[in-house]
Subunit: 471 residues, 2 copies
């Protein structure tokens, strides 16, 4: 439904007050050319706007902005205070769900703070301030602390047999900022980008806010349909493919190594950047996952986003982005405009904790703790007697559950919220906003006992809905 | 030279690959309508593009993209790696200067870390981690820590007799992020905004990257020409006026209280938001400055940016933004997409330090130390025998110096850099890129002895240039 996207594109520009009432809108021909879409697509978008009374037609002249709508600036500022209607229509759907206070939190793909070595961390921080007495008085550069970049580059090189230099790495405030900066630098409205279906919902929010055209690539337990990926690259010439190939959020799936290599060839052939989000790489259960795509990349088509927020220290929000020197130089400029650098305090604390042997011990314990929680959740689901289905992941924080037939995720969520239980409905993770038969359950935030109770509550809610609907 | 801005606007869109070679560009009429400018302005922009061979004309048809230029995507990715030419043309000029290693740093408007109570700060941090043992494992909300917002709202209310609630305040990573988020939410390409002339250069960089049309308002020691401000608001209907009315950067000037009140009336009358950047409010020398504009505001037309980076703890990068609930709600959404929240660690450290009595003592000492440095710099300038002129500021970190006649800032900077001395040339702070006879000297980063040496070096360099040119 490409015309819907063109419709949204025009609506956003109308909302922002680019045209005043009775202003003439761009012709179908011109807009089709500008957006690189078929004229029929633009025509259909205008027809819908006309139906809704947002635009009107003057014979032999074209489309005009209706007076009763969007009297832009004046309307936007009505009542004295600025209405945010005048701002672009953006939101972060996931954080809306997280704002719900619930006793059974299956929506948060976060590590239970109880699993982090908090006392040790605090002790460590004290030592960091002894090491750098002027730390609080010093700004970081926009690129990030050089000592930290050097350590992280060496760590990645050692882990993945790569040859990345500290200058080819930038520190951001979490993966969210990395995704946002990359999107701002390389995407303009109506640019096509490939995204996995399903995918990380807060990334979708960023892409939509920038006006990108989202082309979905289905992610199955065995990977992508590579022929389809090639067709999509050929047809849409996407600016980039945003992907999370290792213990993927929300599914937990991992892209096999051979598909990783193929993808790099396609990226080069179709000049499509690969934005590899790799936040869960170290959270594997039985064996290490394949190396990230960027480790196979020899020609500079990947941007590697490696967040350490999830398990090292969420309160610090440290993320590394690796790419070719040109790419990193662009991102340094974007970062310097966006916030002029991540606070030095958090970088130095992270650096010294990350290098400690205690950190490695913590990580090993964490893997075991998470695997146990996953096993408990799976066991409870199986014992519930309901036909939930899922592919058991080898790492990460989530189960991607197909619901029993006849049960809709939205309906289940409404009832679950009444029982103080939250999860992420599939549609939020869907670039097409359609997935109704899947939900994401995170096993990382609650302990085993709470997981058992929560899944029983969930199963009861699901049974009740199914019973009622069969009556 | 509005046509230059239209020219830049078209160039940026060409660079980003919106049009392919031999694509038809929008007509003069349409573009004039879209950008809300005169057709002649667009015509002149196209003429310049034609002269430069970037576009060509087909008789009776219009303007087309020349083939040799901007073969967009393909050209941008030439050589295998992405060239950032494909990204929008953005930079942060000030940070370019700061990257120069120099022994006489008059370019940095930062507090000398030696003036901050570092040992005390470090001790304090240790206590914070004892108070919140799980601090490192916890995410902040996008809006920022509620405890911190409550304390800052109470602080501002007490200081300015206002009535702001914690919900009407958002925490950002420095003023830079606040300016960036506000600009992203409310500015689209070619929107007019008012800016002081001169002004903070990194804000200009953000506005330019977003494609804003900059309308300058001259800032003199006695304030603005209010009649001119009204005319500009009437004529250009700016989205907002970005201003730094208290110990202004780079001039050190302060807008008188009566002009503050007038400005609020104009803002309401012409529905122009006032973006008040107030980073230097507490750095006064003899007497407190007038209350900020937002304290006089009764109808929601100000967004108040209050950074504490400059003097509380630069390494923490804590800034508060205050505005009507609608405005703050919009900014929370933007912040959640941009980085999902400032790290909790820095917020909690800041909170507890900010509330300490030690912090108030530090601030009083800091004011005295800075005033002494300012006096030393002014004394050395007077004793140099050269006709520098400036209005002595009552607070802030900078002197805005008019150069001796015949001396250009650019020339002086080139020679000064050879003597390992940096300062900020006026043009960087100028929305029109023209100021050639002023420079900004910061007295905050170097101690008294270094200031004396540095100013002597600067005076010598200036004399040499003037001597050579008179020969």
């Amino acid at each position: 439904m490409l015309f819907r996207q063109v419709y949204d594109y025009i609506r956003i520009r109308m909302k922002r007050g680019e045209w005043h009432e009775h202003d003439k809108l761009p012709s179908v021909r011109l807009l089709a050319m500008e957006l690189n879409v078929n004229r029929l697509t633009v025509f259909k978008a205008y027809q819908l706007l006309k139906q809704e009374g947002l635009v009107y037609v003057k014979e032999k002249s074209g489309y005009y902005v209706s007076p009763e709508h969007l009297n832009n600036r004046e309307a936007a500022y009505q009542g004295g205070a600025l209405k945010h209607a005048s701002a672009p229509d953006i939101r972060n759907k996931l954080s809306d769900i997280h704002r719900v206070e619930a006793s059974n939190q299956f929506s948060k793909a976060l590590i239970d703070p109880g699993l982090l070595p908090n006392l040790f961390l605090s002790d460590y921080v004290k030592r960091v301030f002894d090491l750098y007495p002027k730390l609080m008085g010093t700004y970081s550069t926009a690129q990030g602390d050089e000592e930290l970049r050097t350590v992280l580059a060496a760590y990645l090189n050692q882990q993945f047999y790569t040859d990345c230099h500290a200058s080819e790495l930038i520190i951001t405030t979490g993966a969210q900022q990395a995704i946002d900066l990359i999107t701002r630098m390389w995407i303009r409205p109506m640019d096509a980008i490939l995204v996995e279906r399903p995918t990380y919902s807060a990334a979708l929010d960023v892409f939509r806010a920038q006006g990108a055209r989202l082309i979905p690539v289905e992610f199955a337990p065995e990977g992508y349909d590579m022929e389809q990926v090639e067709l999509l690259m050929k047809e849409h010439r996407p600016r980039f493919f945003y992907l999370n190939p290792t213990f993927h959020n929300p599914t937990g799936y991992t892209l096999p190594a051979d598909q990783r290599k193929q993808l790099l060839e396609l990226a080069e052939a179709y000049q499509c950047l690969l934005i590899e989000d790799d936040s869960f790489h170290d959270i594997y259960f039985d064996q290490r996952p394949p190396r990230p795509l960027y480790a196979y990349d020899t020609s500079g088509w990947t941007i590697y986003i490696r967040s350490f927020c999830k398990y090292v220290a969420p309160g610090l929000r440290i993320c590394a982005v690796v790419g070719s020197q040109d790419i990193i130089n662009s991102l340094i400029k974007a970062k310097s405009l966006a916030d002029n650098g991540t606070p030095l305090v958090t970088q130095k604390i992270f650096l010294h904790y990350f290098q400690s042997t205690r950190m490695q011990q913590h990580l090993e314990k964490l893997r075991i703790a998470l695997q146990i929680r996953k096993d408990v959740m799976e066991e409870e689901l199986r014992q519930s007697g309901l036909p939930w289905t899922w592919a058991s992941p080898n790492g990460g924080l989530n189960l991607w559950i197909q619901l029993p037939e006849g049960l809709s995720a939205q309906r289940l969520l409404e009832e679950a919220l009444r029982q103080s239980l939250t999860f992420v409905p599939g549609a939020i993770c869907d670039p097409l906003d359609q997935i109704e038969d899947h939900i994401r359950l995170s096993y990382s935030f609650m302990n085993e006992a709470s997981i058992r109770i929560g899944i029983r509550v969930l199963a009861q809610v699901a049974s009740d809905i199914l019973d009622r609907e069969q009556m």
